[in-house]
Subunit: 447 residues, 2 copies
Amino acid sequence: MRRFDNVAIKVYNQCIMKKYTEMTREEQQKEYDVLNQRYREVCESGIHLDMSRGKPSIEQLDLSRGLLDTLYGEANLNAEDGMDVRNYGGLLGIPEARRLMGDIMGGVHMEKVIACGNASLNIMYDCVSRAYSHGIMGNPPWCKVDHVKFLCPVPGYDRHFKISEFFGIEMVNIPMDDKGPDMDMVKDYVENDPTVKGIWCVPKYSNPQGTVYSDDVVRKFAALNPAAPDFRIFWDNAYCVHHLYADRNLQAEILDIIEECEKAGHPDMVYEFCSTSKISFAGSGLAAIATSLANIEDIRKGFSVQTIGYDKVNQLRHVRYFKDVDGVREKMMEHAAVLRPKFESVENALQAGLSGLDIGTWTKPRGGYFISFNSMDGCAKAIVSKCAVAGVKLTSAGATYPYGKDPRDRNIRIAPSFPTTEELRKATELFVLCVKLVSLEKVMGLI
Amino acid sequence: MRRFDNVAIKVYNQCIMKKYTEMTREEQQKEYDVLNQRYREVCESGIHLDMSRGKPSIEQLDLSRGLLDTLYGEANLNAEDGMDVRNYGGLLGIPEARRLMGDIMGGVHMEKVIACGNASLNIMYDCVSRAYSHGIMGNPPWCKVDHVKFLCPVPGYDRHFKISEFFGIEMVNIPMDDKGPDMDMVKDYVENDPTVKGIWCVPKYSNPQGTVYSDDVVRKFAALNPAAPDFRIFWDNAYCVHHLYADRNLQAEILDIIEECEKAGHPDMVYEFCSTSKISFAGSGLAAIATSLANIEDIRKGFSVQTIGYDKVNQLRHVRYFKDVDGVREKMMEHAAVLRPKFESVENALQAGLSGLDIGTWTKPRGGYFISFNSMDGCAKAIVSKCAVAGVKLTSAGATYPYGKDPRDRNIRIAPSFPTTEELRKATELFVLCVKLVSLEKVMGLI
């Protein structure tokens, strides 16, 4: 298995422009006037763009257009176990979909996989909701215990945090570096605080930084000895095959957390999630959960009350279309060909516009859907707001932190996937402009 | 609107055979030996059939085969509001799907409808689960109150009861007659007991009796003044267009509960559910909930945390395939043409084999998916068990009652839809045989 050393997740800060802090007040004012004039022009140009979510572009959706034709005139609508996919039944999904999703997650055995509906978020929500109302594997329901905490590596995925918040779960920020979460801190919390019941992880091409958890980090997760018997790692492997580069040496691989947890004697400690939302269709893909057989049985009991089964026709459609994980990998290279120029265009514009100014750092991910930008402290909200006034909606500043509270008000998630290249060029120019303006205002003491 | 007077839901008991109770012991023994011999022959014939669920037959699934071809080569994958159905977004469903599902429910305005995924059961579960964890419209979560009760008209749908049971909700049996539930009892509970938070209803072609709620019953529901502000009627309109007869005079219509609740000044009191599970594909249809705008907003808040949206591609597929509610009605007549002979075959066999014996009564529904059979008291479990030994799996005796406990052990749900006509003929012969045998054992004091 190839791994890479995260050198990509570095910051670009070569000195080629004069720093605002080194300018005289007069120079600052002059620069400010120039930038402001340009900002007004952009505002008047009537740009309208929503870059708030990691949405695939139409071009990407078109890559799987054939999925909708897959079952056309198809006479055999039986799964490989003989079940007619159109009818009721098959609570755990059809065998071939369980196998495909297991393979996408890096080779998890199909018995440990449930193939579900169109949203992995929904499975995560259900896992928390069921834990809240019924408890995990015989442990007390979280609604009946005094306090529940989740650890949240930050910055992270806002929708994870929203689930915790919805269920009144206290969230604890865990700092990230370029190898993953601070595992000393994770270990300390998980092993000593029985109210810590979970941790949200995006282990590969993390949202928003693009960080890939190192083998050491994954092994440290597997080796945790939780104080709470119902502690679970919520391992959202959302970008498991979502590389931006075709060169296998640039493609990250992570250790199989299911296998590592088994080896470490904690087979039940992890729920792993993935979906084809960014492989086939964002709104109409397949999601899956992988976990131990004991957890599968626990979940199955809930499912048997909750649903008549997930959409097996769409499961069959996906398997017939992609054939196997190699088919998925091929498709991901087509996505990469669309996405990579967009990422590089943003990175180049940031580099050209901001390098040397010491007013921002950003990641250069090799996969996933986001670029993570850190402004000077206390500037993120103002930057996002300035972009919005000009017509470009970014993810809310703070959204990458629990409760929407970025303690340093500096992290901004950039989602380059949806806009066209031309829109992206304009939007990034605007973004650079807003970063400069707000930073200058900060340096000049105007905000 | 046409209604019918439920004369169909009568019992067939003309005297043409000698009753077991009027036989001498010798005659009983002779009859018993003959029946037993025949039972052994059937056992040896190697019949294997699962009639436990109301599953559509393959022939019925094939009626909507074209659904899978609908989007073949389709260039326009936008909903009528311009949203690309393949992408994220559209939490309440695409407008045309909301309109279609509202029309299927009898003309509910699309603003009051959310189009969801493939299982109405899942929406019902979610409504109970959300009420349990978060409460309804600002009321205390049910997990934080001492006690919650649901009223359960009986016999009823086992999966409703399972949801209540899963959440520790106490269920109270409410007797049904041929106009619907005993509304005096319902009113007494709902208006005086603030722990009563819900009632499960299948108002049209009820599961399992085929009962159609009368206008008077529907109006009495709408006029309820609940003691609990978060009391909701769970109105599972599962068989809203599921007529067995083409003659409009034989097709039941019920009052629109949403409209009646509005008129009565209780707009928030009802959640109405429906699905296309028995219109298109059982495992891959559309489900919907209809309710007041205030409830929609309450539900939307939960949905926004729970999911990225339901499968809009399948929503579009359904709308493009069926076009409108007239297209659905046409399809339902094709279903009726397949189903009606099966229902009539069972009814005829019951009539031929059991009439006059005073050992069973059954319904003759004009729609829905079931025939409800009442044996002599204390015989249902034995009959179902005898059928199972011979190779025919029926719905468990008791399943039509909360906690699986039929107080008189007499109700059996017959699901004629899935077997072929020939299988059904054999299965019904076996059923009649088992009813006779067990009844005779009862009369003879053997059980």
